[in-house]
Symmetry: C2
Subunit: 132 residues, 2 copies
Amino acid sequence: MQKIHNLSKNQKIIFDLIDKSGGPMKAYSILFNVQKRGIKAPLQVYRALDKLVEIGKIHKIESRNAFIACQNSSCQVSKATAFSICESCENVSEISNSKLSKYLSNFSDNSGMKYSKYNLEFFGLCKKCKSK
Amino acid sequence: MQKIHNLSKNQKIIFDLIDKSGGPMKAYSILFNVQKRGIKAPLQVYRALDKLVEIGKIHKIESRNAFIACQNSSCQVSKATAFSICESCENVSEISNSKLSKYLSNFSDNSGMKYSKYNLEFFGLCKKCKSK
DNA sequence: TAACAGTATGTAATAATATAACATTTACAA
DNA sequence: TTGTAAATGTTATATTATTACATACTGTTA
Ligand SMILES: [Zn+2]
Ligand SMILES: [Zn+2]
Ligand SMILES: [Zn+2]
Ligand SMILES: [Zn+2]
């Protein structure tokens, strides 16, 4: 059961921008792009990003300090994320593989730690870049 | 077959510090700690960190912008890394689980992408923090 | 040895990413 | 309608990381 979140004005502006871009966007690039819509300060961007991450509408690509729209169904509210990243063209896409997510969600070791969340980033060359 | 890298002076100072700390360290905290040993500027730290990451002596914890000494055997030169991170006390440890690493190293999907590297970060509560 | 290439260092300036602190406003339920 | 949580606006500042340029060291080869 997915809770419906009504996005606020700034959240909506910023989510729409990221979503339409189709790829990862960096915070200050987002800021630049929304200044004409009245969002003037970094903090306004970061606050919206924080919220959007929290509710699973976007994810942060940690290795790139960038944010991408969720391509699944808000990934159980961002608790289980996996991405493939091309190290040449920097194309990023979200991996949706139920075997993988089951495997990782059920993973446990003998550390006594209870895992409630994970983030996985694969790196390599995409189809295009491989054939160059 | 593991190539032996003779660390340079700065690399050695910085690796020893991180290694002895037993946990993740941030770049500017490293800088502060090595100033008495003659390393004065951020760039000197980042250059050593870059090299140490490259040769697999340390890893970057991307979600924390911090660096930790490799607890395995340089992890095939940093191509396959997994960590568990306590969200309460921020304790980090490197996961060494051959099933997991085999599973991830062999992972492929239908994207046509060839994966040569991955980084996985698990989050949760460690034993100590769970029982509080 | 001398010349060379590759790696490492030193230093200053600056770019890029992110948060603190405080004042105000809006949404909405009790 | 009043209380409360969430969101916004604004300024300043903290944190993380890189550019640019000059110099020095290390090991190999002519
Ligand atoms: Zn997602
Ligand atoms: Zn590519
Ligand atoms: Zn390692
Ligand atoms: Zn803990």
